[in-house]
Subunit: 582 residues, 2 copies
């Protein structure tokens, strides 16, 4: 037995107890005739006290202890003279009577502290030291807690956790699969799942009724910042449900999580159609922590800008504006900076027009040589400008300008401090288009996946106007982050066949790739639907960080490498020969 207590446990009530602790030397303070050592483990820090008078031998050992040495100590708990109110053990210290050095440590390449001096690359290479830092460990403790709460919530709702296979079959549709050569079946390959989609649907055909799994998924994509080739999904499916059943259940789950973990009562999640999200936020995952909804000054039914001599507005399809609260105070320099910002290639706008309503209610605009005061008043009214506000206008093709304005809106939200880290604004985005047309390939793609059910009321347009059909699909969005998405699935074999046809599958291709699912549908498939939530993303959202990497114990870098273990790496000749790939 190495210890009787952990380093975060001892209190005033333990005074006089003989105890043993084990942990890492976080800090030593040598004061000549005495020394103090902060002993750290996962649970906390306990101060060890050494004193020449009471135990010279122990003091001598204490003086040899280096940072990150692993030691075991025995001693008696005593009240501290100068207490530390910031830590749980701050009222006591251990008068050490025995020290055993369990392991030494060379000097770590960076400091094991919340604000470390280690850069990203170094911390990744020595991830095992990075994980010693409080801040990263707390992230993973949060992840642990969330996983347990999610499982407990879902189990309580009759969901069964079922493990689906990792070695499955490649389906060339969609993103690229990671593949695994089969030694026992030369020339054949397994694929790693991008999601357990077809398996969870088969479980519904099997009558499992409610399924969940917190499961690793894999996608061989060209990596972007904060994308991981392996990621974790909370994967769920339910039978005999319609959309509202699914939304209510998972809304309930999120409310539970936020209450348990953060003490926050989330409001009911509003439902917003995809069309509205695009119209008012230019984005299918709007950050609704703040307003600044789009106002169309020129668009489908409106036109408050044309034929006034400002040719830019005359020729464009859309003019979109947002009202920036308090924006009238923006200086020329600040506005110039905004103009530069939207003109950057990442945004790609051609310019930015403003209208200000000062504290006295007077209107001014960067284009007031073209527009009369009455014109400006019509904008003011459309934008519901208050005294001190500023309206920002952008012009362009419908959709494109919405996207640009969406970026600007988020930028303004950040600049004005409206995207508050401790605030959470959830919503459901619903009624996504079923298909998106790929101009290059001249064919439709499934916006979610080929198993998504069209809205019942749009079924009759599936032949005539497939592009206008909406899906019975939904995304959960919180603070502008897509936490997850799902849909009611197709459970009818004929409709499923029709979908494959629309997506350009030949009968043979559909059969080769999804024959087992289409077969399964012949044997009494129930109506079903589900959702998959990004667990890494959820952890980082609830942990208040932008980076999912901080919530993954051993993440890969942007080239898909684990720099700590140095993977991937070449195989040996024997391994390649075994696989008949040499």
């Amino acid at each position: 037995m190495y210890r009787t207590h952990n380093c975060g446990e001892l209190r005033l009530s333990n005074i006089g107890n003989q105890v043993a602790l084990a942990g890492w030397v976080a800090k030593t303070r040598l004061l000549g005739s005495m020394a103090f050592v902060d002993l750290r483990d996962r649970y906390g820090i306990t101060q060890l006290a050494f004193n020449e008078e009471t135990n010279k031998e122990m003091l001598d050992i204490a003086e040899t202890l280096g940072r990150e040495f692993v030691i075991q100590v025995e001693g008696v708990v005593a009240e501290r003279s100068s207490k530390n109110p910031n830590i749980g053990t701050g009222e006591i210290e251990l008068i050490v009577s025995k020290v055993v050095i369990l392991n030494e440590s060379i000097t770590p390449p960076f400091t094991i502290e919340t604000d470390t001096d280690g850069g990203d690359d170094l911390r990744m290479q020595y991830r095992y030291l990075d994980l010693r830092r409080d801040v990263i460990r707390k992230n993973l403790e949060l992840r642990h807690k969330l996983a347990q709460l999610i499982r407990s919530y879902l189990s309580g709702k009759d969901f069964l956790e079922v493990e689906t296979p990792v070695l499955i079959k490649s389906t060339p549709e969609g993103a690229r699969d990671f593949v695994v050569p089969s030694r026992l079946n030369p020339g054949s390959w397994y694929a790693l799942p991008q999601s357990p989609q077809t398996f969870k649907q088969l479980l519904m055909v099997s009558g499992f009724d409610r399924y969940f799994q917190i499961v690793k998924c894999f996608r061989d994509e060209d990596l972007r910042a904060d994308r991981q080739p392996e990621f974790t999904q909370i994967d769920c499916e339910m039978s005999f449900v319609d959309k509202e059943d699914v939304l209510n259940l998972f809304e309930g789950m999120m409310k539970n999580l936020f209450k348990d973990v953060k003490g926050i009562d989330l409001p009911d999640f509003p439902r917003m159609t995809y069309a509205d999200a695009m119209k008012y936020y230019g984005n299918d995952k709007p950050d609704t922590r703040f307003g600044m909804e789009f106002v169309a000054l020129k668009g489908e039914d409106e036109d408050l800008v044309s034929s006034k001599g400002f040719s830019v507005f005359d020729t464009v399809e859309s003019v979109i504006s947002i009202a920036v609260p308090g924006g009238a105070a923006y200086t020329r320099k600040q506005i110039d900076a905004l103009v530069d910002w939207v003109k950057r290639p990442q945004i790609g706008a051609t310019g930015l027009i403003w209208i200000k309503k000062d504290e006295q209610g007077n209107l001014k605009s960067s284009v007031d040589k073209f527009y009369s005061i009455d014109d400006l008043k019509s904008w003011e009214s459309a934008l519901s400008l208050e005294n001190g506000d500023m309206g920002l206008l952008m012009a362009g093709a419908y959709g494109k300008v919405h996207k640009q304005m969406s970026e600007l809106r988020l930028h303004m939200g950040s600049e004005l401090g409206l995207r508050k880290p401790g605030e959470f604004s959830p919503l459901w985005v619903v009624d996504f288009p079923l298909l998106e047309f790929d101009e290059e390939q001249n064919r439709y793609h499934a916006m979610h996946h080929p198993f998504t059910s069209p809205l019942k009321e749009h079924l009759d347009k599936l032949h005539s106007h497939p592009g206008e059909v909406n899906a019975n699909a939904y995304d959960m969005v919180i603070n502008g982050v897509e936490i997850g998405g799902g849909s009611i699935r197709i459970h009818d074999q004929e409709l499923q066949a029709k979908m494959f046809e629309l997506l350009g599958f030949t009968d043979e291709e559909a059969k080769a790739q999804f024959g087992f699912l289409m077969n399964a549908f012949k044997y009494g498939a129930p109506p079903h639907g589900g959702i998959a939530l990004g667990f890494d993303r959820l952890c980082s959202l609830m942990g208040g960080s932008e980076s999912i990497r901080d919530f993954i114990a051993f993440p890969k870098n942007n080239s898909g490498r684990d720099v700590m273990i140095d993977a991937p790496a070449p195989l040996t000749k024997e391994q390649l020969e075994d696989l008949e790939l040499s």
Copy 2:
């Protein structure tokens, strides 16, 4: 909303309620003017009643319902006239006022019943229908329940669930890895983990103190019956522990599981050394539900058989015997069958000698022309034969004959009904040899893995007599099944380097494969140890089945194929080109 209740829920207290149910048609009984339909879902079966008098229209629909049709019904709960005490809903039925056929079904290729008429291959091909059977679903419900209980137990003991990566680096030592080509790093490969061993040790270096994970692992072996290329492990690791800490904690976990799931109070787990297990059972995973321990009649210190004219016993190294309770009643024919059984090539024994003590206490033996009554009495005494017992003797080289006798012992246990399915006899086997010598390659292999710590008291033999060093390793065995195993690990970099050297690694090889771990040990690695339990195996043991496949939702067959989805399969030319493998 498809239903107000599930099919296992309604009781007498619901009589008169208007309810909606949804599920599968399990059975229809058409009786002319009335019909009964058993509606099934995961939760149970509810009887639907149709009557010409009350609702002719509904009866007409009922008559069209085929097996496994998916329907939704509405109606009023009524008391049954003839009750079924075997099911929870057996006192009520639903008087149906509305039926909606949600999906039809063609005739399934086998019956969806506990005793199905479907063969193994057919059931695997249509696994989604096989999973509809009560018996398989209950297995997976048990698996779900065990997973939740295990996580809850370990979380309650301060273990943190941490996900370790699936795309890691290949280590050619040990079993074969499944490998994954990296498209972004051409020529480089990931490997799928055979276990998260090194990562969990790194987590201990990180100060995580207690880690667990229920995790998929992968091994590209030549498959045997009931081996799966992907399997699930309960993987655990703890810091600042010695062997007894680990054993007690996981013994506690098993006791909890058996109490919660089966209402069984497991006894304390005895500790048996590997040497004793081999000596008394010829097996490092003895089935201790019954006795019949080996008694050496000729061996290290004993010789009750030589120099009596029976040349077989004169020349062999060992003569081992077991006492078969009640075995004196065995007929000549039965004994001949036993002799044939041990002579089969799978066992490979040369023969079998018996000694009987009849109900009157008289001794008889198949070799009594060589041995006097006093000789036989010495055997009787060594074997503690009771009236009516039989002793069975086998001869051969030490170790080899133990293995053969182990098989015979298990066979006798089965024949005599001593291996009772509802009985559970757990134990820990401890003090395994650290190394085993590979005659062919003329080198040592790690019996567990290269990270296993030698027993402290054997450290001084590591140089001089490495073959005699025992490991601080342990296996959990229940009913002759190895449920899991683990060890206290090496946490000292020099000892670890020494181990790699003993195992024939060059410095370069050790560094290339495990450099990250050896590096980590330089920064304050705590003493640590852990265990990994086979989750598939544990489920099948607790579920009372021999086959782990019955406890895996979508298992692979003995060639590593998923015959349902038809994987593995060839890739497309484009996929191979992307991987530069075409």
